[in-house]
C-alpha cells in the first residue's frame, strides 16, 4: 500500500539507489586504507566507518531538518528535527515517500563526512575526530546542502547542481584543505617517503565507489525518469574519459600508466560529472571527462611539493574536480536534454555567472567553518596524537588492533573469575 502521489517505480529505484550510495562509504574507507601505511590502515578505515554512525545520527536529529525544512536563505528550520513529520507522504516535488527521501539524503551526508577524514589520517586522535565529524555534518554539510538543494540562496539564485557539486564535492574538498592546515602535517611529511601500502585496496575501493556513484547521480533525479537515465549514463561516460585521459597524461609524462593514478582518475571523473550529470548531453559529458582530468592532475602533482599535508588529496580529487564540473554546467547545460536551463554555449551566459557564484561561496564557507570547528575543539582537547604514538601507528594506539596481525607471540589473556 502506498500513499497518494507515490509512484512505485520511482520509489523502487530510489530504495536501490539509497543502498548503492551507502556502499560508497565503506568503499571510500577501502580506497583511503590502501593509500596509508600499514600501521594506520584500521584507523583510516575506521574514520569512514565512524561516519556511518555519527553522520546518520546527526542527520536524523537535526541535519536533515536544517538542510531540507523550509526555504530560509541561509539555513532551514527545525520542523523535521528528530524526523518529525517525515513519513510516507510524498516529499514536496517528488513522487517518493518523504521517509525515503530522508534516507537517500542521509547517505550523502555520511559519505561526505567520511571524505573529509582523508586530510587528517595518520595523526589525528580518534575521539576528537568523532566530535569534529558530528559538528561538521551539521554546521558545514547541512548548511551547504540547504544552499544547493533545500531552497537556500544558491538554489533560489538558479545555480544548477544535480547531485552535490556544492555540498559534497566542493564542501569536502575545501574543508579538507582547512583541516590539513589546522591539524598540521604528519611528523615525517617531507622528510621520509610515506607510501601507499596496498594499491589493490585503492583500485577495488575506486571500483566500488564508481558502482555506488550510479545510485548517487542516478538517484538524484528522485525518479526513474529522463533526468535519472541521463545522469546514470553520464556517470558511465565521464569517468571512462577521465580514466583514459589520466593514463595518457601518465604515459606522456613518465612512460608508465600508474595504477593508483587510474584509481584516482575514476574518482575524479565521478566527481566531475556529479553536479552536471542530469544537465549536459552525453557527448559533452565525455568532453567533461577529459577536461576534469587536467586541473586535478595538476593539483595532485603540485600539492606534495608544498608544506600542506592534505594527505589523501581530497582537495584535488573532490574540491577541484567538483569545481570544474560546476563551472562546466555554466557553459554546456542544454535545455533540450535537461528541460531546465541552457548554458553559455546554448545561449544563456547568465547561467555561467550563477555557477561562478557557487564556486566562490561554497569553498569559502566550507574552509572557514571547518577551520573554526577544529580551532574550537582544539581549545578543549589535543587534536593530534603524540610524536611517539604517531611513530608507533594509530592502529595500535587508537584501536588496540593490528590490520595484519600474525598472532605470533600472542598469549591469551586470562581474566580472574570469581
Amino acid at each position: 500500500m502506498t500513499a497518494a502521489g507515490i509512484d512505485s517505480g520511482d520509489t523502487a529505484w530510489m530504495l536501490a539507489a539509497t543502498a548503492l550510495v551507502l556502499l560508497m562509504t565503506p568503499a571510500l574507507g577501502l580506497f583511503y586504507a590502501g593509500l596509508v601505511r600499514s600501521k594506520n590502515v584500521l584507523n583510516t578505515f575506521m574514520m569512514s566507518i565512524a561516519a556511518l554512525a555519527v553522520a546518520t545520527v546527526t542527520w536524523a536529529l537535526v541535519g536533515y531538518s536544517l538542510a531540507f525544512d523550509g526555504d530560509g536563505a541561509i539555513i532551514g528550520g527545525l520542523g523535521n528535527a528528530l524526523l518529525n513529520g517525515v513519513d510516507f507522504a510524498p516529499r514536496d516535488g517528488t513522487t517518493i515517500p518523504h521517509l525515503l527521501f530522508f534516507a537517500f539524503q542521509a547517505t550523502f551526508c555520511i559519505v561526505t563526512t567520511a571524505l573529509v577524514s582523508g586530510a587528517v589520517v595518520e595523526r589525528m586522535r580518534f575521539g576528537p575526530f568523532l566530535v569534529f565529524s558530528a559538528l561538521w555534518s551539521v554546521l558545514v554539510y547541512a548548511v551547504l546542502a540547504h544552499w544547493a538543494f533545500g531552497g537556500g540562496w544558491l538554489q533560489e539564485l538558479g545555480v544548477l547542481d544535480f547531485a552535490g557539486g556544492v555540498p559534497v564535492e566542493m564542501g569536502s574538498g575545501f574543508s579538507a584543505l582547512a583541516a590539513a592546515l589546522v591539524v598540521g602535517a604528519r611528523k615525517d611529511y617531507g622528510r621520509q617517503a610515506l607510501l601507499p601500502h596496498n594499491a589493490v585496496f585503492v583500485i577495488v575501493g575506486a571500483g566500488l565507489l564508481w558502482f555506488g556513484w550510479f545510485g548517487f547521480n542516478g538517484g538524484s533525479g528522485f525518479s526513474a525518469g529522463n533526468a535519472s537515465v541521463l545522469a546514470f549514463v553520464n556517470t558511465l561516460l565521464t569517468p571512462a574519459c577521465t580514466l583514459g585521459t589520466w593514463m595518457i597524461i601518465d604515459l606522456i609524462r613518465g612512460r608508465q600508466a600508474t595504477a593508483i593514478g587510474a584509481a584516482t582518475a575514476i574518482v575524479v571523473g565521478c566527481v566531475g560529472i556529479t553536479p552536471a550529470a542530469g544537465f549536459i548531453s552525453p557527448a559533452w559529458a565525455m568532453v567533461l571527462g577529459v577536461v576534469a582530468a587536467l586541473p586535478s592532475y595538476a593539483v595532485i602533482q603540485w600539492r606534495p611539493r608544498t608544506r600542506v599535508d592534505e594527505t589523501l588529496d581530497v582537495l584535488a580529487a573532490h574540491g577541484v574536480a567538483g569545481l570544474t564540473g560546476i563551472l562546466f554546467i555554466g557553459f554546456f547545460a542544454n535545455a533540450s536534454w535537461n528541460g531546465v536551463a541552457d548554458g553559455l554555449v546554448y545561449g544563456d551566459a547568465a547561467q555561467l555567472g550563477k555557477q561562478a557564484v557557487a564556486v566562490l561561496a561554497a569553498p569559502t564557507y566550507a574552509f572557514l567553518m571547518t577551520a573554526g570547528i577544529l580551532k574550537g575543539i582544539s581549545l578543549f582537547v589535543a587534536l593530534r596524537v603524540t610524536e611517539h604514538e604517531e611513530a608507533l601507528g594509530l592502529d595500535i594506539v587508537s584501536h588496540g588492533e593490528e590490520a595484519y596481525a600474525t598472532g605470533e607471540g600472542a598469549m591469551l589473556f586470562r581474566t580472574e573469575r570469581a
Binding site: L392, G400, E408, G409, M411, F413
Partner: protein
C-alpha cells in the same frame, strides 16, 4: 673485522638508515624480526579475544666493518635508534668478531671486502 648487529624499533628504521648514511657507512642488510627484550606487553582485543603480545616487532641490522669503523657504526646506530624516553624497547647492539669475509664479485677477502668500492 667485526659484525655489528643492531636490533631497533621498526619506527626508527628510517632514522637509523639516515644516521648510518650520514656516517658514511654503506653495506648493510636488515630484516624484520620479532623478539622480547623486557618491555611491557601490549594488549590487543579481537572480537572479544584479548591477547597480550609477548613478542614485539623489531628491525635487525647487520653491518660488517673493519675495526676502525666499529665505533662510528655503533654511534650511528645509537643516534638513530634512541627515542630519548629512557624506556625499555629501544633495542640492543651486539658486536662480534668476524673470521672471514669474501666479496663475491671480485674474490677480495678481509678488510678489502668490507670497504665500499668507490663509485
Amino acid at each position: 673485522m667485526k659484525l655489528v648487529i643492531g636490533i631497533v624499533r621498526p619506527e626508527k628504521t628510517n632514522d637509523v638508515l639516515e644516521a648510518l648514511f650520514r656516517a658514511d657507512i654503506r653495506g648493510l642488510s636488515m630484516h624484520r624480526v620479532q623478539g622480547h627484550g623486557g618491555e611491557l606487553e601490549r594488549v590487543e582485543t579481537y572480537r572479544g579475544t584479548t591477547v597480550s603480545m609477548e613478542l614485539a616487532e623489531k628491525v635487525r641490522f647487520e653491518i660488517a666493518v673493519s675495526d676502525q669503523w666499529v665505533q662510528p657504526t655503533v654511534d650511528a646506530l645509537c643516534a638513530g635508534a634512541r627515542t630519548g624516553e629512557g624506556s625499555v624497547g629501544d633495542g640492543k647492539i651486539f658486536v662480534i668478531a668476524l673470521e672471514q669475509v669474501v666479496r663475491i664479485s671480485s674474490g677480495q677477502t678481509g678488510d678489502d671486502a668490507v670497504t665500499p668500492v668507490p663509485r
